[in-house]
Each structure stands twice: as structure tokens, then as C-alpha cells.
Amino acid sequence: MRSLIDIKDLSLEEIDELIETANDIIENPEKYSQKCKGKKLATLFFEPSTRTRLSFEAAMYELGGNVLGFSEANSSSASKGESVADTSRVVSCYADIIAMRHPKEGAPLVASQNASIPVINAGDGGHNHPTQTLADLLTIKREKGRLDNFCIGFCGDLKFGRTVHSLISALSGYKNIKIILISPNELVIPDYIKEEILIKNNIEFVETRSLEEAMPELDVLYMTRVQGERFFNEADYIRLRDSYILDLHKLENAKKDLAILHPLPRVNEISVAVDDDKRACYFKQVLNGKFIRMALIMKLLEVK
């Protein structure tokens, strides 16, 4: 029995296999419509995240399965003080697989150590969110046709952005990736990501303050939200939030086949005018998220 807690739990071969399955689901959805008939997914959301929960639930329904669960902690036994370990043991009696969202980092790992069914980490605090990373990888693969030999720029909050850390970690296994890290001084990538992933794996990377300067070189641009709750000072937040906005003007120097990704939700870091540009891939990324979750649920349930 396997769980997915951290993107590093998957080998490159397994990621390729998931992407292949997801692509096949996109081509032949009817082939998969009954694959999980009679199976139940428990969505245990100790903090609300409607977008992620709906993606998991839609994925399970499209596989012909059923869904049960809760969408916030006060409607669950956690509000009565039950431990994550006990909750996951109990839910193991009712469901076949768990998708868990929790505000505390490491909670899904604790769940996987105690559940008798597979656990998928659907986001634990500011720590991991491996299915978002899988959605990102599937989107890059579909848009660029490859997961090696490309230049990707990460723009915005690189200090706290867990999706950025996790995607960098996943990309570290592929050949010839160049990474351009674009952020204000206040939100640069943490040293440990540089030391333990980029330098350790000999990945070419550059740090810059300017999105415009980096633009011409990029094959993929990964935009992130600069989150208000990360700042103590409202003025700092507004100044930083507005310094990295992607608009059509900044895109003038971009490659014709650039793929623009964003884990969503966005605030204003991508101007809505960009949505109609064919390089905007962030809504496709949402859809890809559902397909890769379908592939993942099948893999963990060992459904062929």
C-alpha cells in the first residue's frame, strides 16, 4: 500500500507513468468511467480549500467512484480533539483512499503512518502539495512535449511559495533544465533550496529582480501569488504585490510558444488581458489537475 505525501515519494518513472495515464484519460475518458466503481474517496479537509477538494471529488466521480468527507475542521471530529492518527484509523474503515488537507505540516504523513488505506497529501500548511506539482508537470509536458531541455522562470513569492519549491525539487531529476528565479529581495528562494536541490543536482540557475529581463529566454513562466498574510506591513505587501504583474506589455519580448502557468488563485499578478493569449495555460492546468488526480487515484488503488 502506497501513499503520496511528498512529490519525492515518486520516481521519475512513476511520474512518467502517471502523465501517460493522464494523457490517455484525456484522449479516452469513457475507457476510465467505471475504473473505480464501488470505491470510496474520503476527502478529509481540516481547512477549507474548495478548489482542491472539488478537483479530487470530480476526479473520483469521473472514475465511477464515490466520495465522502468533510470540508472544514469544525464539522469533523478534530474539533472534539481527536488526533490525526485516530481519525485516519477510523476513516480507513469506511473508505478506500484518503485525500487530506491539513493546516499543520506533516499531518498527512502521520495519517499515512496510521491509516490502512492510501493517503494523498492534498496540502499540509505551507509545506507540500504534491498533486499540484503533478498538475504542473503534466501541463509542461502537454504544452512543451517534454520535461527536459527547457528554461523555466519562477516569478513572485519564491520564499514561501511551496508549489515553487516542490516543482523545483521535481524538475531536479530531469536533464538540461535552466531555472530563472525572479523575485523581490524580500521574497527570494530560501538558501536550503539552493544548497540542497539546485547546487547539489548541478542545476543551472540565475536570480534576478526583473521579469522583463528574464522574459526572452523563458520556455515556461511559473507565476505565483504574493500572499498578504506573509507580511506584517500592509504597505510592503502592496508595493511587492504590484511589482511583479504580468501583462501583455511584458509579454512582448516573450517567446511565441511560452507556456504561462499559475497554481491559482491569482490576485492581480496576471492581468486578465493575458487570459485570451494562447500562451496562458493556467486554466488548462486546473483541468490537468483533475486528470492527473484520476491517474494517481487509480495508481494508489492499484486499479488497472
Binding site: 490525526v84 492518527a85 491539513h102 499543520k104 505540516e105 502521520v110 500548511g125 536550503y192
Partner: protein
């Protein structure tokens, strides 16, 4: 200064000078009633100065705790006044309930019954990370 050699017991040698008391407490030697000699600031050809702990009894020592605190220590096991076993320590791959995770967002901060487990993530720099939240121990 003279400390008699011990006949049966354990000698912790090459302790970084000044660390002897920390190790004395970490191993719980203050709670045992066996004889312990704490020798501070001895001259050492290898280290300049070093500390030594001599424990006049065969007690169970958690070598992971010891390796985490000071990987340079040599542990000599002595029987009938002879060294019958010697261990050179290194940083352990995993330590359990030796240090606590200080990350307030970590699940261990709210669920008291969980063990605090850290894994070695960078041997050269001696960096340990919490297995739950990956926060580093230092």
C-alpha cells in the same frame, strides 16, 4: 592530575573540550549512582584540548544521542582493565526524541503523543530535518 584507570566500564574519549557536562546530562549519568570521572581540558595530541568521561560500570549508552551531540567521540568499552571494543561515532541517520521540532506550524506542535524524529539531510553541515515538516533543527 591522576584519575585511576577503570577496570570495567566505558570511557568516552575525544569529547570536544567543554562538552563533557552536556554529555553527562544527555546520557542521564546524573541520575545513575555509578562512579563517573569527568576530566576536563586534558591535553590531546589530536585536538589540543579535550574532555574525557570515565564511567565505572557497563551501562547502556544511546550511541545515536552521543553521535548527534559530538560525532568526534571515541567510545572505549573496558573489561578487566583492557579495551575490548572501540567505537568511533558519526552523525546518526535518524534521531528520535532527542531534540524537539520548534516549528509552530508542525503537526508535532499540536499532537503531543507524536515522537519527534529527525533525519540527517546534509552530513557535511550536520543538518537534521524534522520528518513531518522538514524544518531544520538549527
Amino acid at each position: 592530575m591522576l584519575v585511576n584507570p577503570i577496570k570495567d566500564g566505558i570511557v568516552l574519549d575525544h569529547i570536544k573540550a567543554g562538552n563533557a557536562m552536556e554529555i553527562y546530562h544527555a546520557l542521564g549519568l546524573d541520575e545513575l549512582d555509578c562512579q563517573v570521572a569527568i576530566i576536563k581540558n586534558c591535553d590531546s595530541a589530536k585536538m589540543g584540548k579535550k574532555d574525557i568521561l570515565k564511567i565505572n560500570e557497563h551501562i547502556d549508552i544511546n550511541l545515536d544521542v552521543l553521535g548527534y551531540l559530538d560525532p568526534g567521540i571515541t567510545v572505549n568499552f573496558i573489561k578487566d582493565s583492557k579495551i575490548y571494543d572501540r567505537k568511533h561515532l558519526e552523525l546518526p541517520m535518524e534521531i528520535k526524541d532527542v531534540i524537539k521540532c520548534k516549528n509552530p506550524r508542525c503537526i508535532t506542535s499540536t499532537e503531543q503523543e507524536l515522537s519527534h524524529i529527525f533525519k540527517l539531510s546534509n552530513r557535511e553541515k550536520g543538518v537534521y530535518r524534522c520528518i513531518y515538516c522538514e524544518a531544520s533543527a538549527k
